[in-house]
Symmetry: C2
Subunit: 198 residues, 2 copies
């Protein structure tokens, strides 16, 4: 029905997560009506995405140099490593400006249902890194407060038990702007248990 | 913060309609973790999108040949022209299999609020086409049943009044599977007014 080059673009767009066939159609027709000066940069950005881009061998963050900017930044606190699930979690934490240590990106979470086991994540690389760097004194577990995130945090904590490394977990509690009345009871319970001095 | 090639892709993705900065980030990181065999086809589909692709000079549908497959299809009823807003509306109508005439794509609707007037649409081209093709006996107005769609339909109907061309409008009524109780009163009113013999 549609010309093949348009159909091909729709098919490729529909493979992206969260983009269904209808959205793919709409995006493709939008692009078709855009000038070439709008389409070309996107196409080129895609084709050159991986040029010179890799993951830092130390922390597995995405980088153009290895070790990455964060690992090689001398001003950062090299005694702390914050363990996160995804590359974008690093961006989110960096935006807060409240953390000056290093990172370790797991690239996923333990999820038996999705068939994700420890060897598909960068967990062995984390343990190996701790062995190589005895200066690391604190592991901040910053996986998501979801079932899988908690399980992954627990897995790491169990392994590190007995070693001379402090293990902390980001606080669970009410987000800023939340309403006690509408908070779920697990979150409210955590907020009460983990109350801090005022 | 992020490597420049990744940031560039995020920026380009965020320019697409309905894709905000967060979705763009998520898509870009997803692509980054995909093998090159998944990224390349999308990039190439974008770069070659407009190669040999244009709009049919007759009906303004997207095509690789002019006139397009629909206009040059001898088996179609050339006395009917269905006027639609967008390229994808043609696809939607073709899927029903209930229409065998020709099309005319307006590429938009009259919308004073968005500054879209008749000369930005393919309306003059429609009137011109009717002059050149006296065999056209019916215009099916299939613009959306929205404020702008109705205004555009009315504009075309006013112009064609008095000419020897039947003007019809796609039926407004309850969609299949709808619930009378929850239908809005305008739709229900139209459904009552336009009731058909049973």
């Amino acid at each position: 029905m549609l010309p093949s080059s348009l159909q091909k673009l729709i098919d490729e767009l529909a493979k992206l997560p969260g983009i269904g066939p209808k959205t793919a159609q709409r995006l493709a027709v939008h692009l078709l009506r855009s000038p070439n000066s709008r389409i070309k940069p996107l196409g080129e950005a895609l084709l050159s995405l991986k040029d010179g881009l890799s993951f830092c061998e130390e922390c597995w963050y995405v980088t153009e140099t290895s070790p990455c900017n964060i690992c090689s930044d001398e001003s950062r606190d090299k005694t702390k490593v914050c363990v996160v699930e995804e590359v974008l979690d690093v961006v989110a934490i960096e935006k807060t400006g409240k953390y000056k240590g290093l990172y370790h990106v797991l690239h996923g979470v333990l999820s038996p249902i999705d068939g994700v086991s420890a060897d598909q994540l960068k967990i062995a690389e984390l343990f190996n890194r701790l062995d190589r760097h005895p200066e690391i004194k604190e592991i901040v577990l910053a996986t998501n407060p979801s079932l899988e995130g908690e399980a992954t945090a627990l897995y790491i904590q169990k392994y590190l038990e007995g070693k001379n490394i402090a293990i902390t977990r980001i606080a669970r509690g009410l987000p800023i702007g939340a309403d006690l009345e509408y908070a779920d009871s697990v979150t409210l319970g955590k907020a009460l248990l983990n109350r801090t001095d005022y």
